[in-house]
Structure formats: structure tokens, C-alpha cells
Symmetry: C2
Subunit: 186 residues, 2 copies
């Protein structure tokens, strides 16, 4: 049994994480198209060969970035739903505010998430990671609410995507009636 961690591996994994973070920043700024070994290495402040050492190929790097990103999304949306629930009938307001934030200050991140999402559509090995946060959320609701919840998630996705091609991000006030209608029970 070994309690002490290998200092070399520790440094390696730290740098690996830094490279993934740099990759996500690149995608936020320039899209998946801007991801090359060299741009990522420059963003992370490491030599080019460092990215090829820790990730056997560019695909590997993108896969690792999507997995890391999907984990963040899952926890994020988890708390969003939790907060919306705790506010009861004011849940729509909470959701609308978070959507406005995703389309405003965090616009780059939102674009990055959907680009990685579409990447998963083309690369089957990415799909489990891209689907995980959806599954986590679906498991939160009662079985008899499942259809309503799927509609809710689809509506959120649609509003985000459509909001990304607006010339200026929609405000929470503009989004609230739509979210309200989306959440209204039948």
C-alpha cells in the first residue's frame, strides 16, 4: 500500500489540468476551430510538445475538455434547478436570470458548450460524456414528470441557442414570459 503520491505524476496531472483549462479558454474565445497544439500550448504557457505528451492526439485533448466541461455543466444546472425549486412559483424568474447570464457575461462559455455538444454528435466516443449531465438531471425528477421535464430541458436548450444569434443578448425580463409559459403546468 502506498500513501505518498508520486511527485512526478502529481506535477504531470496538474499540468494536464492546466492544458485542459487553456483549451476551454481557447474554445470560448475562438471556437473549436482555434484549437491547435500550438495555440493551446501558448495559452497554457507550456511548450508545444507538452500538449502532445499529455494527450496522444488533438481528439484526445478535445475529449478530455468536453468531459471536464460536461461535469461542470451538470453541477451547475443541478443547482439551478435546486434554486428554482426552492423559490416555488418564482422559479421562472430564477431560470430567466440564469439564462440571461449565460447569454450575456458567460456567452463565450455557452458557445463553447454547444460547440462541444455538436462535436459529440459527430464523435460517438464523446456522447456518453455529453449525455451524462442530461441523465443526472433526468434522475432528479419524479417519473410522472418526465415528459414535462424533457420539454423543459429542450426549451432551455432552444432558448440558449436562439439567444446566441441575437445581436445583443436578451434580458431576463424578455426571457421571463417565455420561461414562465414553459414551466406552466398543463
Amino acid at each position: 500500500m502506498k500513501l505518498q503520491v508520486d511527485g512526478r505524476k502529481a506535477r504531470g496531472e496538474k499540468r494536464r489540468a492546466e492544458i485542459i483549462e487553456a483549451t476551454l479558454r481557447i474554445i470560448e474565445r475562438d471556437g473549436v476551430a482555434g484549437v491547435t497544439h500550438r495555440t493551446v500550448a501558448a495559452e497554457a504557457g507550456v511548450p508545444t510538445t507538452s500538449t502532445t505528451y499529455h494527450f496522444t492526439s488533438l481528439d484526445d485533448l478535445l475529449i478530455a475538455t468536453l468531459i471536464s466541461c460536461a461535469r461542470d455543466m451538470a453541477t451547475e444546472v443541478y443547482w439551478m434547478i435546486d434554486r428554482a425549486r426552492s423559490r416555488g412559483s418564482r422559479g421562472a424568474e430564477e431560470v430567466a436570470g440564469l439564462l440571461a447570464e449565460a447569454l450575456g457575461p458567460r456567452r463565450g462559455r455557452t458557445m463553447a458548450e454547444y460547440e462541444l455538444y455538436l462535436l459529440a454528435a459527430r464523435k460517438p466516443e464523446l456522447r456518453p460524456a455529453a449525455r451524462r449531465w442530461l441523465d443526472v438531471l433526468t434522475s432528479m425528477v419524479r417519473h410522472d414528470d418526465e415528459v414535462a421535464f424533457r420539454v423543459f430541458l429542450a426549451g432551455i436548450d432552444g432558448l440558449l441557442i436562439q439567444g446566441l444569434i441575437d445581436d445583443e443578448p436578451p434580458s431576463a425580463d424578455e426571457l421571463r414570459p417565455v420561461v414562465d409559459y414553459l414551466l406552466k403546468p398543463r
Copy 2:
């Protein structure tokens, strides 16, 4: 006044259209990442320099492709809504069938459309073209239905995107209850 068209320009515009069609096929097969002057030229069966002659840059080519694609989408969804309306309460069935088709046989085309959509999120000059089909559709409905219609379109987008990362495309039967709930009036 000149009635006879210039034979040279006629040939040029025909080739230009062929290049755009080839570009769309490339995007369906390999994504926007697969679009280069050389791959497009090979797909269209023309020399490489032909694509640089008719389109001053790769961006120009992608812009033209998105515009052409958006026009098709608008008319397509227009008829979808028209058919769904004419079927009254069976509209959900019609919509579910078309969604299943978009995620099955026409999956590549659907991916291409959303990739171009995300491209528009990054390139402001593409947004009017990407938004046009949304505007056309919104103008179809009565003003008091606008919120419900926006929810409907957002839901469609979300279902399509989520359907793209399924391992196997969802069937119309699986989609129908969700579409039905989405269309149910409050």
C-alpha cells in the same frame, strides 16, 4: 436595356452554385472543420483556384453556404407548420414524424444546419441570415400566440440538438408524447 444574359456570367453563377452545394455536402459529411478550398473543389469537381475565384475567402464561402441553407430551412419549416396545422389535433404526430426524419435519414443535414447556426453566433455578419427563417416563422402566428410559438420553436431546437447525441436516432413514437406536451395549450 439588355435582355440576353451574358453567357460567361451564366456559367460562372452556375459553377458558383455547384461550389455551394459541394460545400454543404462537405459540412454534412465532415463538419465545418472539413471545409477547405481543396476539399470543396474536389467535391465539386473543379480546380482549387475556382473556389478562390468565386469566393474571395473561405469565410465568404461559408457565408454563402449558410445563406443558401437558411433559405431552404425557412421554406421547409414553413411547410411543416402548415401541414401540422391542417391536421389539427394530429399536428403533434406530424411534427414528431418530421423530427424523427431530421434525426434519422437527414441527420447529416441537421448537424450541418446547427454547425452553421453556431458559426453565426461567432460571426455577426452571418446572424441576419441565420435569424431570417426564425423571423419568417414568427410572422406566421397571431400576436397573442407569440409566447407559445417561441416556446414551441425553442422546444423543437432543443429536441433536435439532444437527439443528435443519442446513440441511435429517436423514433417518432418516442418523440410524440414530448411534442404533444409541447403543443398542449395552457
